[in-house]
Every structure is written in C-alpha cells, then in structure tokens.
Symmetry: D2
Subunit: 356 residues, 4 copies
C-alpha cells in the first residue's frame, strides 16, 4: 500500500539508489521454517548481474547479497528478512550534464516535476539497478512456492522474433540473451553489437511461464492474479506493455477459436485442450501454465544527441555517455521471473488465508 | 489491500452479483465539498448500460444509481459515499446447465476450484455487470480531477482496425461502438451483426487518453502510475493485454526513434515533440496525454457447443444460451474511462499527500 | 488502508450517517462455504438496538439487516458481503441550533475544522449509530471463529464498580446493563435514572473476554494482536482508554507478581497459573483468555447548558435536547464484542496465510 | 498493512533482531526536500540508548545510525530512506537455558506456538532493541511536522506517582527517568536501585503531550487519530494500557464535568476551557494538546526463579540472568515520542491528501 512496497501478505519493500552506498529489500510475511541462506539468493542475482557479457552494461558489480535479519540457524523465522547489496562500482564520473539537462525517455524530468529535485547520479532511484533488490526478494519468494517452475526468456529482440518451432528450453541458459531459439540467439548477437557500436539501443519482448500454479490461486476482483501480475510487470523499468495468454492477439479471435476446451483428466482435474487464457480465468488460476509477456522499450540512453531542455528551461541537446545496456530487455528476464515469483507467493498465502 | 477494493487514499470497494438484489460501490477518501448528486453519475452509467443498441446484450437494466451516504446538502462530506444500483432484469431462467458444467473461458471452473462452489446465476460475482459499480465510482472520481479530460474509444473490433487518419473525436458518441472512425463504425455493424447471428463473438481493442494530467502525478516504484493503470485495466473483465504509449510497438523501435524530444514551451513547461512514452516516465506523469490501450478477448459465451467437463468431472458439451454481448469490448469503453479516472484521482491525492 | 475500512485479510468497510436513508457494511475476504443468513446477524443487532429499555435512547430503530450480496444458497461465496440497515426513525427535528453551534465533547467542531462543513443531523457520520454496522459485520466474523467465545460486560458504571466476587456470567443477559453482578445492576438502575432525569450522563468501563483463542494468533510487530485490539477499541465512539490484561494496574506490580507461571498441562499445552498478560505476549496469543477493557466517557449530550462557540466564532451556550443514551457505555458492550470478533477473525486468517 | 510496517502514506518498516548483525528501518512516503542527515537522528537515539545510567541495561550499544538511501545532497528525495544501526555488543553468552525453556511474560512461548521455533538470542525480534529502529524513523517523522512539539515523560514508576503540582518541563532532561517532578525523580532512584539489586523489576506510566497539532488532523472512522495512536502505543514492548486525555478517569465523570467548554479566541480559533478529551474528538484533532498515556508492565526478566515449562513440555524453573532494564518504562519515553511523531506525520499527509 506504500509506494515502495509490493504484495499483500507476502510483501517486500525496496530501497536504494544507483550510486548510494547500497540497495536492499525487506521481505515481510515469509512463512517460518524455510531453509534460506545467501547461497539460495546469489545464483539468481548472478543471472541479472551486469557485465557478464559484452551485450550488457560494463558496470562491474559483484552483487553480493547479505541477509541481515529474519533467518536463524539457517531457517526463516517468520520475521522480516533484510537483504542488502552494496554498490561497488560507483565510477567517479562527471554528472554535470545530466544534472543540468533532462534525458528524454528517462525519469529525469518527471522526478524533477514531482519532487523539485532529483538524485541524478546514474538515475538515482529510477535506475534499473533497483531491480537487483527485486531479484533478491524473488529468490525468497521461490522458496514459498517450491512446486512452481518459473521460466522467462526473450522471444523478440530488436524486432526479430524467435521461431516458436525452434523453441528449446535447454537453449535459454546457453546464450547471453535468455533466448530459447539458438538461431535467433545467433542473429541477436549482431543486432546488439550493431546497436552498441552505433550508440543506439533496441527493445525486446520477454515471456514468462509459471508451471505448477494450482487452480484456485488468485482473488477477485481487485487482487486478480492477472491484475497483480500486470502491476508487477509494469513496475519493471522500461516495460510498456503486458499480456496474459494470447494478449492482444486474443482480440482478433472469435469466441470459438479463443475457447480453451476441457476434457476429463486422469487425476480428477481437467485437461485443457488449449491455453489462450494463459492459465487465468476471472482472475483465478485454472491450473494451466500461467503465461505473461512484457514489452520493453529500447534503452533511452543513446549516444545520438536528442533535443531536450535544461533544468532552467533552456533548449539543449543531450547524449548519454557512460555504461549502458544496449538492450535492457535482456537483463529483464530474471527480473520478470522474480516479480512473477513474488506475485505467486503472495497469492498462495492470500488463498490460504481465505480458503485454508 | 483487500480483494474487492482498489486505490490507496481515494479508494472504492464494490459488492454484488449479477443476479442478486443489487450491486454497489463504496467510495472512500473523497475530498469534501464537491457538488455531487445522482445526476452526476447517471449519464456515465447510461453509456455503459446494456440494451441500448442491438449490438449489446438485451438484458434490460435501468441502472438507476442511489446515493445512500456521504453527501449532505448536495456536497460530499468526506465520509464514505455508498452507491447502490438495483438489479431489475434478473430474468427467471434455467441455470441448471451452467450449474452443472463449466463454460470454457468463463470463471466457472476457477471459482469452483477456489471456493468449492459458486453463484452460477449469470456469472455471479464474475459477471461484467459488476463494472456498473466501477462506472458509478468513476463518476465520483471525475469530480476529484475536474481538469482532466478522459476519453476512451475502440480502435479495433473483430480484428478490424480504425484508420488513424480518419480519427474524429466527434464521431465517438455518434455510433454504438465508441468508434472514432465513421467508416470503421459502419464496417463494425456488419461484423457484430454477423457474430451475433452466428452465435459467435469478437474481441476488441480500446484506447483511452487522459489529457490534463499534470507532470508529477505518480509514485515510484510500486505505485507507479503505469503500474496502477495496468492493474486497473487488467482487472476489467475479458482484458488480456495492456499497453502504455507505444506499448509492444516500442519494443521494435530503436532508442533514437523512441525518444520523445523536448523543446522549451511558452509557459515554462516543455513541449514534447512526440509521445511514444504515453505520458509516463519512471512511473510519473510527464504532463503529456496519458495513453492506455487494452485488448479484450471475444465474449466466451457462444452458441457453438464447446467441449468441457461437469462439476463431477464427467465429459460434457456446453453452449451458452441467453443474453450476451457479442463483443464485450464495446461496453468496456466507459468502464476503462472509469478505471482511469479512479487511478488518476487516487494518484492526485497521493501526490498531494507527499508533496503538498 | 482506507479511512473507513478495518482489517487486513478479513476486512470490513462501513458507510452511512445517523439521518441518511441507511447505514451498512461490506465484509470482504470472508471464507467461502459458511452458513449465513439474516438470522445469524439479527440477534446481535437486537442486543445493541436502541429503545429496548428506559436506560438507552428512545430512538426507535428496528435495525433490520439485509444481506445484499456474497451469499448463495445460504452459504458465503467468498465474495463481498454487503449488509444494509435502513434508518427508520429519523424524527423530523429542528437541527438549527446544532447546525450553528458546536456541542463540546462531540465531533462537531473537529469535523468542521477538517472538512469545512458537516452533516449535523444527529451527529452525521460521527454518530454512534454507525456501530450497528460493526455489530452486523461482527456477526459474520463470529462465523469465522466458531470455537472462540466472546463475552463483554460492564464492570463499572458512573464510577460504581462491580464486586468481582459476585461475578455471574448468567447475570449478564438478565439486566439492561450487561452487568455480571446482580447487586451492582440494581444500583445502576438508580444511577442511570438519576442521570437521565437530571439531563446528565455517566461513563462506564466494559470488559471483554475471548476464550478459545489458540496460541499463535497475532503477528509482530505492527499487527500485534494487542495493537489491533487497541485500534479497534479506540475507534469505538466515546472510548478514551484501552487495557489488555491487568492494564494500568500492571504498572504497579513487580516482575515477580506480574509473572504468569506455566506448568505442564495434560494435553501438551501449558497450564498458566495466572493471566496478568490478558492472553497476549509479544503481540501473539498465548492460548489463555484474551482480556480487553475499555473506558467510555459520559455521553456528551447533556441538558445542562455548556459554553461554546458558533460556526461564525461567536460565544454561545448549548444544551443538547433530543433522544440520547444517558450512558453510551451500556450499548458499547455488543459493539466491543463485535470489534473483538472482527480482529480475531482477521488474525486467524493472517496466521493461516503465513503459517498455514 | 504488512506485519512489520506502520502508517498509511508516511510509512515505516522495521527489521532486525537483538543479536543479528544489525537492525533498521525503511521510511517511505517522506516528503522531498527536507534537510536530513545522521545528525538529525542521532540525538534521539542517544536518549533511548542503553547503558547511559545505572538504571538501564548495561548492554553497550553506540546505536550509530547510517542513512543508506533516500537523501541526496543533504535533502530527502521522496524515495525510501533506509536507516541501519549495527549491533555491536552481542555479548557471547550461553543461551541454552532460554533456548530450552520459556520465560514467563516474554514472547518465548507465543513465538514458538506461532512459528514452530524462535531466535532465542536476547529475545530475537521481540526484543525491545527493535525500538531503536522506531526512534530513528521517528526522527525523520519529526521533520515532517516541524511545528509540533512532542514531549514524553514518566508520571509513575513502581507505583509512585509524580505530584502534578511539581511538574517542571525543564526537569525532564535533568534526571535519568524523564521525570518532570524532581522530588519524585529522587525517590525513583531508590526504587529502581532496590529493584535492580533484588533482581526484581518495576512498571511505569509514561505520558506524552503533542502541542501544535492543528484542528482537523485525523480521519474517521478506522483511521481515527486516537485509534492510530492506540495501535502505535500498544505495539511498544511491555505496554498494557493506553489512554487519551482523561482516559479511564473520564469514565467516572459526569457529562457536565467532562465537557471541554469553548470560548471565542483572539485568532478566530476557539479557546478551550478544559482538555478532558486529550485534544481529540470524533477521531479528529481539536487543536488542543494531544495527550496520550501508556502503562508499561514491569520487565519480565527477573532473577527470581519462576515456574515454567520447557520446549518439550516438561516442568522447569527459569530465572533470567544477563543484562536487563529493571524498568523498561524508562527508555519507553523516547520510543513513545517517536511513535506519536510517526502517527502525526502520517495523519498530516493523510489530511493533506483528502482535504488539500
């Protein structure tokens, strides 16, 4: 309910700026007794960590997480879990240009309009660096929903879509793009290299599938599972669109072709013959895989000068030097997984609260 | 924080089922002293009301709203505003088929999976009838943001898009589709007639523009204006996708082409040379028009039999007789406007809380 | 999180004014499948109802509750339960004096200072009439915690305390004061009669005991069971003090005398040898009876003229004519029970959310 | 809305255990542009800090606070303010006895009943050490309400009350008891010394007055100012009772004697001739000083053996060795001030949200 917290009964709050001493998250409402150590969190942070390939920003951050509270003798106690990640590579840089003029596409102007001033170093609070806190919190959320498998991957980069027929889950971790289509991954190397060399940037579409979500999670009407997912996704930096299941394509289907027929299954649960709905009906999980898709705009930091205005209203041109991701969509994959995990953990506990 | 409430400081809660005695909303946190009577609410309800053309459900509901509290001598008192709409046309109907088997695409199976049983009469709580409560609450929200003009219209129906060059704001209220393109509106008559006659249904894309939102509204990071809008939109029945600004198309642009350059304006505020961002950066309004777009699936109620299962797990076929909208997207336009108004009213008050 | 809602996962919101057409409550988050009809709610309302003896206000209100949603075929569906009570006896009365001058002790001046104006008819939203909505919601809460027995009674009226040795649970329902001490009840008749005849009023202390609350309910640190109870109690009209267990008397004990020693019980649970703590330690229930006590000031409506000021700031005298409770503490007993039930139902579900 | 957060628009969340590496608070919703550095917080922490006199625990904690986020160039940015205090004096101690048996009056048994196990080192999360986080957050809250003067002091210790006639505001900071009555302070030295030497403990009553709260802050009905204060106070360790204004004494007054008559003031505001109400009517501030009073039980840690049970249910005796406050009420004074400041800051912003 506050500005920097998310969730209802399994909640997390994040804090910290790009160039402050540290960033962090406080996870509240976690069930007690779950085995948790830094080793459960670090691998997820490593997936999001910058500087692991030439396709992401070259900022060097080890992103070592510390658990400061909420764990005793290796298990969660049910009290708040404080996670902290120190900022290491706050390269001394001249921010005078960014301090004085607004970078179009960034939050610079909006923050000034709201707060009267801003921490302009590396984007301050609006930096995608904050998403490391989400990934750390998401690692805790995963422990709450051990039977749910969450997997995010890029299906489009710079306008180039994968071939669904070439989808190979095993490929996702083999390339720096979380791309399930090996041929596409190869093409994307050139796309990102070109964008980087040109000082340009490209967008991406990331899909996330959560398998093992039991029918019944979710809560009509304003805590609908899809509504919560939409809020969670749209809060990720650079996201401009969210789809559940067929998304916008569903608007072009007829009722017959959009139906997800059911047949009796062997275990008493229905077998669905299609999943246009993306696993959610009426805001509640149907037991099918939950499918979410997000669109990320191209990084706003580019070397091409863009017309803008300065803090005192004068005309100016600005080009964003420094270290940037040529495609923020790449590192968004682990962030999306984290947000989906956080929503599902919360919904599991909400469901348990009401229905037992 | 509860399941059927929305908003943080300007909040509303809705209650009621399709075939119960009434539905309603309680609006809380409304500023005092605003002139409010039923006459301020009724016109918006009338826009959403069923049965006004042959293109929507033939259920006859006058949707007369009553204000039961929170208004004294014609002005809001600052205390909860209780709005009630009686259900009139609960046609006596045989619901035994729906009671026994799940309609694919509807919430039937999911509700049963969650709650163990469900009110199957007309969809119960999951019925789009609930959106009348939102429209009533939204009418109150509009009074909180008198300088914001909110306008929603269909840009696609049954896969047929409008011609942006033919956009005419005046056309929107002249046809039963809230369609700003007169030629498209003419084509859509046939599309919806055909769907209705075939017992089929079609989807739609609805766009909403809010003009006059001042730069600064919104609240990073988990109460971002776009995040709140996404949650609000995705909570509307049948919505499967949400876009802000260019949405998914932004993912196919380069950083240069996606930039919204700024020039000094005459009033001290910047003039933006483009609005790919849809008026929001870093979760905060930039002062440009806020642009939201939603995709609605085709109505799941169709006459074609669909394979399904019954409550006791047996195979069945079901076709949905009765009165239905062949395109739920049409009546979603006033609902979308209401939800955008509700989000913006809340964000205005939140902004005022923090920044004064 | 909103102003007129209470609870976290089992929530209720109330609306309505003393002299509007109706008052009501919306209960959200209720578990599905509970048997519920008006007959489950009415008896509790009848206990709080005015005009049942000469010791309460003579306003005649049948307080008939209607369930407008959330129940299907006699069982809760898990969706919002809308409860409405019509105001019947809004006696046509001249409110011009109250409209023009502030009654000391009432919310008149504070409401005007906050909102700029107020509904002055019978106190508007600040009227104790609102507590009928709580009692109705509390009746639903009781169904969520069927194994908890909640019992409130007056232990002091007009400064006259009961004799603890004379405590008889059976006596509580035998007199109009919810007094467990028959001799005290007899004395109180005279006290209240005298106050009523003198146009004066008296205060009261009400105690509530909840038996059957299992050890573990409650949630540190800011959703502590005692913290939630304190908020719930202090929100009741005219309450000026709240105690848990020994309350203020505990401040005068030594650590040894305040200890609640434990011995092994036969059922694996401890037997406590005392209950100074009132069943709560560290914000969590210990399994002992939960004991809450509230102090209610004397009704502010008195016939003796009191110095005050008018709306335009001028000096005035005011005496409150009309129908009033000479002791608001009497009818507070069923309200306190309701609030305790509402807190406990919420805490039960919260506990289940986190711990399973 | 979560378990370890407090507030609605000005919110804080705390984390950390007595014997973990650190404790902390995240303050969210703070207005931007306020001058803030560690130097604004440290003095308040120093007042609460242990080991400053022989009358408090001898644990040595410098309680040095670090601001990790939310401040840029010396001013608050409007983003979350992360405050961290390292635990320094986690004396290596044998906790085996506490691990195995429950200390009556402590949260030991309740935590185990809830969570299945607990961090038994120094009370873990239930330790009063957590209140340092509140004091740090409260120091930020004070900056939001610069015109409000908040002052807490003990009026009773070990059953010995101050003489109201001897009240001297200047005395409060001259003695280790925050006692406004110099003669009482002298007596209390002996009372606490005796308790400490005997391995016993005593309770206390602390009063807090907030001057300068404008009429209108507060929000009926479930965010009433007194209701929020009651929740805030009751969440403080060892508190068993809360009063507003005359509190329980009001229950023994008549309506005439409890009235707070008003006369016209020179500045257009009323002059109140009494303040039985403690500055709050109908949940809204009247402009008079807000008066809150809390009762704290004697410290449960005593050297006298108390009957208890062990983790596996067996009978045991336990005496609490180690460093403890013989009267937790003493250090509660700065904590109470902090909680009152946090409530008032939140209410100021809430009021501004709704009323502007």
């Amino acid at each position: 309910m506050s500005f920097n917290s998310f969730g209802r009964v399994f909640r997390f709050s994040t804090w910290g700026e790009s160039h402050g001493p540290a960033i962090g998250a406080v996870v509240d409402g976690c069930p007690p007794g779950l085995a948790l150590s830094e080793a459960d969190i670090q691998p997820w942070l490593d997936k999001r960590r910058p500087g692991t390939s030439r396709f992401t920003t070259q900022r060097q951050e080890p992103d070592q997480v510390r658990i400061l509270s909420g764990v005793f003798e290796g298990r969660t106690t049910g009290t708040p879990i404080s996670l902290m990640i120190e900022n290491v590579d706050q390269r001394s840089k001249d921010y005078s240009e960014v301090a004085l003029a607004y970078r179009p596409g960034h939050a610079d102007y909006a923050y000034d309009a709201k707060y009267g001033f801003r921490d302009y170093r590396g984007g301050g609070r609006s930096s995608a660096r904050e998403t490391a806190s989400r990934v750390a919190a998401g690692a805790v959320a995963r422990l709450v929903i051990p039977n749910v498998r969450i997997r995010a991957y890029l299906i489009e980069l710079g306008g180039d879509r994968i071939d669904p027929a070439a989808f190979d889950d095993a490929a996702i971790d083999e390339n720096p793009f979380f791309c399930p289509d090996r041929a596409a991954a190869a093409r994307w190397e050139a796309i990102v290299d070109d964008a980087r060399k040109a000082g340009s940037s490209v967008g991406a579409v990331v899909e996330c599938v959560a398998e093992g979500v039991p029918a019944g999670w979710g809560a009509p009407l304003y805590a609908k599972l899809d509504s919560e997912l939409a809020a969670a996704c749209m809060s990720i930096n650079a996201v401009k669109g969210v789809e559940i299941g067929d998304g916008f394509a569903a608007a072009r289907l007829t009722g017959e072709s959009n139906a997800d027929p059911m047949r009796p299954g062997n275990d008493g649960k229905p077998v669905f013959l299609a999943n246009h709905a993306g696993g959610i009906a009426g805001g509640i999980a149907t037991g099918q895989p939950v499918v979410v898709r997000i669109a990320l705009k191209p990084t706003s930091s580019i070397l091409t000068p863009v017309e803008t205005i300065g803090r005192d209203g004068q005309a100016a041109d600005i080009r964003t030097k420094g270290r940037h991701d040529p495609c923020v969509g790449i590192r968004a994959a682990p962030v999306l997984e984290a947000m989906v995990a956080l929503v599902l953990a919360d919904q599991k506990l909400l469901h348990r609260a009401q229905v037992g």
